[in-house]
Symmetry: C2
Subunit: 122 residues, 2 copies
DNA sequence: TCTTGACTTCGAGCCCACTCCAACCCCCAC
DNA sequence: GTGGGGGTTGGAGTGGGCTCGAAGTCAAGA
């Protein structure tokens, strides 16, 4: 593959700015470079970006993603700590989604009131 | 009732700072004052705070909450616009919760990989 | 009367996560 | 070999949403 940063931005939905920022901030594993120093992303990088984007999108703070990346970069032997980060996050996300679903239901009831107890909006 | 700001903070889970900030920023309806100028919250205020907290918790930006509050303060006649704000938000929340649920499932699969395909964490 | 403590306002500060320069480099087509 | 369109870096700027501090007011209890 060997994508440029622009192509990678396109494919991942992040901006080139954000991809550089993530790398600077320690969220990426090693990103290969071309002979002229340009970043070259391939399968491995795209997969990693997908993972950290999932973590970010579900609300994991940058610092926790960085810690996870540090552990992965450190290599084998710290799987327990990685797992703990993921499990903690999973639990937090589950709880939040549950709470938000309840808030959503309340908002839907509010909408129903505006509609004079009808069921649909528009 | 007539709660002080501290009691209201306690009951709503917001801080007194945040309650004042919301008021300053136009998110509140009229908040009654005691003779000495202290805020006095009762049923109506608590209900409103509960609503806007639901909107905020589900990701509605401050400016949209403010717009909604403006409409409510303006009185009857703009229910269609209020409804549109709520419906738009409801749709956005539904979409996001759905997307986050998919990300969560992917993270759970990742956890399962760490666990060697077992089902539970810890 | 004096202190204590909860309140008031205004404005500044903070944290997070980007987002955007400015200045420079490199390669390719014309 | 020149112009343009990529890329590079370090550092500064932005926007959202609080969060805090300073200085003052007020009411109740010792």
């Amino acid at each position: 593959m060997d994508l440029t940063i622009a192509e990678t931005a396109e494919r991942t939905g992040l901006t080139a700015h954000t991809l550089r920022y993530y790398e600077r901030d320690g969220l990426m594993l090693e990103v290969p470079r071309s002979s002229s120093g340009h970043r070259r992303y391939s399968e491995g990088e795209l997969g990693w970006i997908e993972l950290i984007t999932r973590l970010r999108t579900t609300g994991m703070p940058i610092r926790d993603v960085r810690r996870y990346a540090q552990l992965v970069r450190a290599g084998e032997g710290n799987e327990a700590e990685r797992l703990e980060i993921l499990c903690r996050h999973r639990d937090a996300v589950r709880d939040r989604l549950e709470a938000e679903a309840r808030h959503l239901a309340a908002i839907e009831r509010k909408i129903a009131v505006y509609l004079g107890e009808a069921d649909n909006c528009h």
